[in-house]
Symmetry: none
Subunit: 207 residues, 4 copies
């Protein structure tokens, strides 16, 4: 495991913010160097290249992004509550790493980034397995219906969240969320709740 020193971490943090705001191409290493108050050459010196900085940034955050939900499965609550908690934790985790996910969402999926995202694929698969376990359990307990396309659950959870966040100005407008706090609070409460209801309905009711 490679360690980062303080200056490297500062650079990573600034880079994360700027990449999220302006995109990878829209952010120059000069911007990063200026905001981080370090020499331009530092970025290449520490990380080799801008591209590798992005890689290291993803690596740096990857632990945060590895959402551990295993304990959740062990908890003595019913499957419905597990699903609710799964969603709650998931959204919360993503929302607290909004910048990083923005970057992953926007930059990495592009053809141009030949980046090793195996780690994330594994995380995704892991989370999917946890979800599968919960759903299987619910199906066995007859509280969930039988024909469920499990792999399409997460796109609905994450997609709803991302679409909301991505269209921030639109929803601020039509929902009257005139402050950052209100917007964040809406995500934490109403939006999360909406997603819970959506998934629960889908899992429970036959139609």
């Amino acid at each position: 495991m490679i360690e980062f020193n303080d200056k490297q971490i500062l650079i990573l943090q600034i880079a994360e913010k700027l990449f999220a705001e302006n995109g990878f191409d829209g952010t120059s290493i000069r911007d990063i160097a200026r905001d981080a108050n370090v020499n331009i050459a530092m970025i290449s010196y520490y990380f080799g290249s801008k591209e590798k900085l992005l890689e290291r940034l993803i690596f740096f955050r990857s632990q945060d992004l590895r959402i551990k939900l295993k304990n959740l499965f062990e908890e003595a609550i019913d499957p419905i509550q597990k699903i609710e908690k799964f969603i709650e934790y998931y959204i919360e985790k993503i929302d607290s790493n909004r910048n990083m996910y923005q970057i992953l969402h926007f930059e990495i999926t592009n053809k141009r980034r030949a980046m090793d995202l195996e780690a994330f694929t594994e995380v995704k698969k892991g989370n999917l397995q946890i979800l599968e376990k919960i759903i299987n359990e619910g199906q066995q307990q007859k509280c969930f219906k039988t024909n469920i396309q499990v792999p399409l659950i997460t796109p609905t959870i994450l997609g709803t969240y991302f679409n909301f966040v991505t269209n921030k100005p639109f929803f601020e407008n039509i929902l009257g969320l005139d402050s950052e706090d209100k917007f964040n609070s809406y995500i934490k409460n109403e939006l999360t709740n909406h997603i819970k209801q959506t998934i629960k309905s889908l899992l429970i009711y036959e139609n």
Copy 2:
């Protein structure tokens, strides 16, 4: 209404493809010129600037994007069927303009693009109103539940779709969609159906 000549349309098409693949900043006018087999100066000559090319591209596609669902509301089918058709049409329309939506999704929401997207906001609002009408109708006919957060329905529809498309490689992998056709077919059938089920469950069942 401004008309585009053949060469302009060619440039717009190439630009659309490249912007979707590599992003706006990741695409140089030289790339566009090369792929479109036109002189570099043509882009500036025809569109004034790269930025304006993007504007014109959005304008060029915006007609297609104006999803006409009004007739749908008039049809003599029950609200549930209307919702199903609404989703079907919506996904179909977006999917046929996948590149354009990718661009909108990636570039426009960024802080750096100060672009006039009023037209789209209007389209979104229009679609939202149609959805509201359908849902109201369904509520009056007692086939939908009463407490529904209508503005959060579309994020779920679109978000699910986009999350799926954005994570194409991941889903190709876990779903065994080993050809372009299979992937597209999956969207048209399974994914669309999943979204229909999701929304219908949400609208119908109280929990």
Copy 3:
């Protein structure tokens, strides 16, 4: 003698104005075409090139610039009056072609313009000869001193005028010439008179 048609003359006039204001390099043929309300291709079509347009412009104006002072020499007035009239006519002529002289002054003297200015050299030489004649006459009549560097007289006349015009803002400021009319009137009266006094003093008084 080549004739110019109306459109050509219009182009020449617009070009003259713009060249004087913004310099040759600072003026694009697009600027000229726009202001003259003609097609861009017209300039090259009519004049062959931008450079040749300048040549034709100089040729076009050169007749105006051929200051006819021969008659002046024949007039039955004393040499001092002839000198005064010479200066008066000279300044008047140049001032009425201020734009053209500005161009000549700024562009032609540059190394980069390998332009045929023979015509002008001839005009200058012609004027110099007239001046020499007048001065010789004055010397014979004992009203002018004998040791006079005739070729340096015109630099003083023209240089004083051009330096004044070139530093327009400075002199407007310190002389309180707060309108175009006042500035022009100052040239016609005070400045011209100053030049007359200067040259007369130089020609008359031994020191």
Copy 4:
């Protein structure tokens, strides 16, 4: 006070030469880079932009251009000698910065350059005041006439010089100055003397 390093000074010197010869617009940063044997990017790197290079160039030379003639006024010589020295120093100073003055003369006075020339206006005003003092002194000592337009003296001094220099080829031709040395020597001796005579005559003799 900002310091310039050797390479910056080299660039400034080359730029000065080229701007004087070909004008600002007529000189590309490629030309400068080539002649100075530095990378093109260096100009932007060191000076920010071509425009700012010009600004720095003017700043760089501005000390040289601040002609100090105050001591002259204190010298124990008569006003006529002071005027002679004033002219001699002035011409000498300008001639040793011929390139720089050419640039100022040609580029700055143009409408298109919105450059801060306040410093120069101040210098001009300062020199004007010194001249006024000398002339006032001369008038009090009855060696100068009373009705003198002081602000028009400098245009005659500078204008004569510039007109001569600007029409170099013409005067080389008619005066037979077939070498650089002869031309420079002519300025230093005959031309300077001509200007001295001119101004002295103007100041002394009533007509």
